[in-house]
Amino acid sequence: MQFEAKEYYQASLERMKEARKIYTGGSSYALAMYCGGLAVECLLRAFRWKKDKTFEGRHDLGDLFKASRFLKIDDEYLRDKGASDEAIRKSGATLHATINLVGILWHNSLRFASEAKLKKHLHQLDRLKGIKKDPLKKNALDLLNHAQTLIDRGVVLWT
């Protein structure tokens, strides 16, 4: 199957919706996290496709973020709309911080991960410390909120 920008964009929004439903259902935080990161990957592929139609097989969100020109598009959008330099800088910093957090927590191999494996993965990332209740739920929520922030921005830039 081959995909175009619009199809990546649509898939991105649908995956994000599903990620939230899976998270809310509480049956698999590994799958919720996978879908949330996948939504971001689809979004970045959608923006990348506009500039470069070749297929990029890797799933590195940091690389895709650069290739998508998401920051540049955000910058141009805000400049075009007359935003202040401070607002543009702040928006860029938020996007950077957001993609960094998603990039730390998400990996394409999460699709193979059980809840137990996810816990080990989060332990290796030192993401279990200081969380009294369910650490998987907390990390899934962190990832999904950041993923949703990127998707929300993507929707504004796309529409």
């Binding site: 619009k6 649509q10 994000m16 919706k17 809310t24 928006s91």
Partner: protein, 169 residues
């Protein structure tokens, strides 16, 4: 009533939305600005939007909604964008043409600013190619007894949130 209209009405009513922008291309996506989203996480906003839409739409209609992003007023004012009105032209015959930068939903939003004013009629927005920085336009007209002036248009637009009237418009 088409689906975009149905969604807009539900969001305006139940979320007290201040601005709704929707696009349809193999599904509906867009965003809504509401003061209710202040101090709410992005994920919880989706929950609130879904709750409203679940009440207002059928299951089949819901499947056509890809996603509607939620923004608090302050966020949208910082990283969002005002709709720029570039020119207000007086037309022969008494009407005025309003030229703006944006897509159809932006033009509909600007046009909506006149809806609450008595005795003003507006035309459907249409693309306005050629002019630099302008992409849509529509016309507004008052009555014979109470004609619409450029000053009144400026007053109406300037008091409407998310609209920026450019200097020399």
């Amino acid at each position: 009533m088409d689906l975009k209209e149905k969604i807009t009405i539900a969001l305006l009513k139940d979320l007290k939305a201040e601005y709704v922008r929707l696009e349809e291309e193999d599904g509906i996506s867009g965003f809504v600005v509401s003061a209710k989203f202040k101090d709410m996480s992005t994920l919880d906003r989706q929950g609130a939007i879904e709750k409203v839409l679940s009440k207002a739409l059928t299951a089949e209609e819901l499947r056509r909604v890809l996603m509607i992003a939620g923004f608090a007023r302050e966020e949208y004012e910082t990283v969002g964008a005002s709709i720029r009105v570039h020119k207000i032209r007086e037309k022969a015959g008494g009407g005025l043409e309003i030229l703006l930068n944006g897509v159809l939903s932006d033009a509909e939003y600007v046009r909506g600013a006149f809806c609450t004013e008595k005795g003003i009629q507006t035309t459907d927005p249409r693309p306005a190619p050629g002019a630099v920085g302008v992409s849509m336009s529509f016309q507004a007209k008052g009555t014979e007894a109470n004609p619409l002036t450029k000053e009144r248009v400026l007053q109406i637009l300037k008091k409407t949130r998310y609209i920026e009237v450019m200097p020399n418009a």
